[in-house]
């Protein structure tokens, strides 16, 4: 198939960027979206132009490295997939495809379609862990039974790949789904109870400092999340946060 691509080009974080048009031809409908981008880059290199920089790594939908806002949607028009799992059969011959970086104040563009998601890292560092050292002398794993429904819920929350589609798609650039997934995972588990209050307070605090917007419950994040993380976790975090604030000692 033949396509016209409108790609965001930006030299570096300080430069201003703009959309450029590139025609590509002979794309197989079996190719993945990123393989189509590979073809574009091969073509640009052969023409002596600079290829388009974009993030990608595992190309099987689990590392969370790939991003891209494709034709007005995070990870493109398909549901339950990351950009690397999006296939060209979702498009038609002759289509014009807009390819933009994930946009948020907290995700500054580094180059072309690559954004800096360091804000997510700092949120994790603020409390996305259980403080236990690797001694090899922790208690036997089965000495702490966990009800299956709780373990399953924790797993559902833990499925988040940290790609940032929730932020990109949210009209407010809110990171609530991402933060809520981590907070919820530990809140379901007995191991997470000790630091439960501090965790939610610290992580939300860091989230706010990073400049994300506020959640208005539009539910767009849940729809666009490649892993189908549920809005239920945001509600859970709201409750966790309120309860922790009431009980906090200072």
């Amino acid at each position: 198939m033949n396509l016209t691509l409108k790609v965001w080009r930006q030299k570096d974080a300080k430069s201003k960027g703009k959309l450029e048009s590139y025609p590509v031809s002979g794309i197989s409908e079996h190719a993945s979206f990123l393989e189509m981008m590979d073809v574009l880059n091969e073509q640009l290199i052969n023409e002596g132009k600079e290829p388009v920089a974009f993030d990608h790594d595992c190309r099987e939908g689990i590392c969370g490295m790939c991003s891209l806002y494709i034709n007005g949607e995070a990870h493109g028009p398909d549901r339950g997939v990351t950009t690397c799992q999006l296939h060209m059969r979702m498009f038609k011959d002759g289509d014009t495809i807009y390819i933009e970086p994930f946009r948020s104040k907290a995700f500054p563009v580094l180059k072309d379609l690559i954004v800096d998601r360091g804000s997510f890292e700092r949120i994790q560092q603020a409390g996305g862990f259980i403080s236990v050292n690797t001694s090899g002398n922790t208690q036997d794993a089965n000495s702490l039974p966990i009800a299956k429904p709780m373990a399953d819920k924790a797993m559902d929350a833990a499925t988040c790949i940290g790609c940032g589609a929730c932020v990109a798609t949210c009209k407010n650039s809110s990171a609530m789904l991402f933060v809520a997934a981590k907070v919820s995972q530990y809140s379901y588990l007995p191991q997470g109870q000790v630091e439960r209050k501090e965790r939610v307070l610290n992580m939300v605090d860091q989230m706010d400092k990073e400049g994300f917007g506020n959640c208005t419950n539009t539910g767009a994040c849940e729809v666009e999340c490649p892993k189908g993380i549920s809005l239920e976790f945001i509600a859970r975090m709201n409750k966790e946060y309120s309860s922790a604030s009431v009980k906090a000692e200072n």
Binding site: K111, V132, D152
Partner: protein, 671 residues
């Protein structure tokens, strides 16, 4: 030829690790604060090592080429992690896990290391549960297990089909905690360009900031390389696009021996290639072989008809199908180990029976499983005299419960419904058992430089069992390295910070800068991928699933030639002082072009068939095992550790003889 000292502790195998830990040097907590350790790579091995070392008190500097440690390719592991917990009370034990691993590795791994791996395996599960890793559980609240290929017990712990993800996020959370505390300085989007040796010891690295292109000098008292495997030397593999051998290769060139590079695992169940644009291959979990039957058509006419779209696989009657694994290996059938299943698929496709346009695909059919489960379910749910349609509907539901996510993934990629038509699969490069040689302490032949996880060679011999990679990565990082590194660092408590303005650092930095400039300035006519694909094609054709002396000799010459062509005709756009993904790729491919040659050389040297390494010259010639791989314990029961001598083809072989005191060497048979 020097004799390599593996430093296996004395004593009975079950006491070696304990005795060793009791007798090695320890650095006191106050002194740890004055010692820096660099960890390159932040997957399961590197991430767990960085977190543990920081918890112990060392100052850790961790490096990842991605934007976060959480992206490392450990995250893609699906099936599970082994541990000898014996929770299922099926007779599992440390010894049994040790035995299975050595046997599965076709008797080419080091007994002492493997026993230690089995010994600490249980601790890994305890540790991960304490960290909040949501392993699958039974209704009673206890941990669930499943079984995996090649073993007779249920010892695999799992978190849905995303075990690697959950374990990595566990290690990542431990790292995040230490980063927050300032005990780990995290260098995301940084790539190690070279190691720096001072007075023969590893004292730091040269890294490139991938955002700014700046060349940075980082010093430390020890350097840990945990940068994963080198499967991408084949261009197409199940590895991530960025997975590379550069860190391992750079230390090899500076004195670390590279062991058994030819040991590569080719996984039998991957989605086949669909065209030249293909950038990577996707794995379908081994668990599918529990219920899927593998076949190709018996008659060439049917093959052609299917390729031309005149017939569908479902049109073929049972008589017209060749269930070749069941035919050749009646005892194990579709559940033979990975290496055997892969070779059998290749044999059929080479004979012309491949079922897709490229001729490189076989069917994995769930029809009989759907029927079987459907009938069973009908009985259980009290449906009397079910119709065929009812059976299929019920059966498909059962299969969906077991493999739903994999079927969905397949459908997204191939656009065919695997419930209705058989899946197409083909083997793909998946894991490299070979890697940097290291001793029992995981130290390489460069003093102060360690190798952990897939980057080292130590535990899997010539073939890795399913669910053992995660176990090894975490064992190295959480429970081995943090102890053994102290033995070496105990001598460094008075050294003080290593200055980075020394001649050694400056020279290394200049070498790196010059090389990058050289790459940019070639300004040739072909892209990096062009060379990478060419290399991959040679590797796959001549150094792939079946190897012979002629092909390997040709491969060595051809790879060398591509390398020369690369250095005269590659085109790397942009500059070195900016974010430049093509330049990153160019550096990595340049290293693969060297590693590939050593890989072929090692395969040529090892004139036996063992595990994932199959030499056509070394097969059983008669008897029941006719045509099967033939191991040669008399001449090849050694680790081949290669020393770099200026050119990959001129590497010098050092042998570490493998001795088996606790396990008897046997022929593997699956007939």
């Amino acid at each position: 030829m020097t004799k390599l000292d593996s430093k296996i502790p004395e004593g009975p195998i079950k006491d070696k690790w304990t005795n060793h830990k009791n007798h090695i040097n320890v650095v006191n907590p106050a002194n740890k604060r004055h010692i820096d350790v660099i960890v390159v790579g932040t997957g399961l091995a590197g991430g767990s090592a960085a977190a543990s070392l920081a918890e112990m008190g060392y100052n850790v500097k961790a490096f990842a080429y991605q934007d976060s440690p959480r992206r490392a390719h450990s995250i893609a592991a699906q099936g599970g992690i082994n541990a000898a917990k014996n929770y299922q009370n099926d007779g599992d034990s440390t010894y049994r896990l040790f035995y299975d691993t050595v046997k599965g590795g076709d008797y080419r791994s080091r007994e002492g290391n493997v026993y230690r791996l089995a010994e600490v395996s249980g601790n890994i599960i305890d540790q991960c549960v304490a960290q909040g890793v949501p392993f699958a559980r039974e209704y009673g609240g206890l941990l669930d297990n499943r079984s995996f290929g090649g073993v007779l017990v249920s010892r695999t712990f799992y978190a849905k089909g995303q075990t690697g993800q959950q374990l990595l996020l566990g290690a990542y959370s431990a790292m995040s905690r230490q980063i927050g505390k300032g005990k780990i300085t995290m260098y995301n989007r940084h790539e190690m360009m070279d190691i720096v040796k001072v007075d023969g010891k590893a004292r730091g690295i040269i890294a490139r900031n991938l955002i700014t292109g700046e060349i940075e000098k980082h010093s430390a008292h020890a350097v840990v390389i945990a940068s994963g495997g080198y499967g991408n030397v084949f261009f197409l593999s199940t590895n991530a696009m960025g997975s590379n051998a550069s860190a391992a290769w750079k230390i090899h060139k500076k004195g670390a021996y590279f062991a058994n590079p030819c040991y590569t695992q080719i996984h039998p169940t991957c989605v086949p290639r669909s065209g030249d644009f293909q950038s990577k291959l996707t794995l379908m979990s081994e668990s599918l072989r529990n219920d899927g039957r593998i076949w190709v058509p018996k008659n060439m006419d049917d093959v052609m008809a299917i390729r031309e779209g005149k017939k569908k696989p479902t049109d073929l009657s049972e008589d017209e199908r060749d269930y070749y694994l069941e035919r050749r290996y009646p005892a194990f059938g579709n559940l033979v180990p990975r290496d055997v299943a892969s070779r059998a698929a290749k044999e059929r496709c080479d004979a012309g029976y491949g079922v897709n346009a490229t001729g490189e695909a076989v069917y994995l059919d769930f029809k009989s499983a759907i029927n079987r489960y459907g009938k069973e379910k009908a009985l259980v749910t009290g449906v009397n005299n079910p119709t065929e349609a009812q059976i299929i509907e019920l059966g498909e539901k059962v299969v969906e419960e077991k493999y739903g996510n994999l079927f969905q993934m397949y459908e997204k990629i191939v656009d065919q419904n695997p419930y209705k038509t058989p899946m197409m699969i083909y083997p793909a490069v998946h894991y490299t058992m070979g890697g940097i040689w290291c001793d029992y302490n995981l130290m390489t032949t460069i003093p102060g430089c360690y190798a952990a996880g897939e980057a080292n060679f130590s535990d899997h011999g010539a073939n890795r069992l399913g669910a053992s990679a995660l176990m090894q990565g975490l064992a190295d990082g959480y429970f081995v390295l943090p102890y053994t590194i102290g033995d070496y660092l105990a001598d460094d408590i008075r050294t003080g910070a290593i200055p980075t303005d020394s001649k050694e650092f400056n020279d290394a930095a200049k070498e790196v800068t010059d090389r990058l400039e050289k790459l940019i300035n070639i300004k040739g006519s072909k892209s990096v991928d062009y060379f990478h694909k060419k290399l991959g094609a040679i590797m796959w054709d001549k150094v792939g699933m079946a190897r012979n002396a002629t092909g390997l000799t040709e491969a060595m010459a051809e790879i060398k030639q591509i390398r020369e062509e690369f250095w005269s005709d590659v085109r790397v756009p942009g500059n070195a002082n900016e974010l430049n993904p093509e330049l990153e790729k160019a550096g990595r491919v340049a290293d693969f072009l060297e590693l590939g040659e050593l890989f072929a050389k090692d395969a040529l040297n090892r004139n036996e068939s063992c595990g994932g390494h199959f030499r056509e010259e070394s097969v059983e010639l008669d008897g029941e095992q006719k045509g099967e791989a033939k191991r040669n314990d008399k001449d090849f029961a050694y680790v081949a550790a290669w020393e770099y001598k200026g050119e990959p083809g001129e590497a010098v072989l050092h042998k570490e003889e493998l001795t088996f005191n606790d396990i008897e060497l046997k022929q593997r048979s699956y007939k």
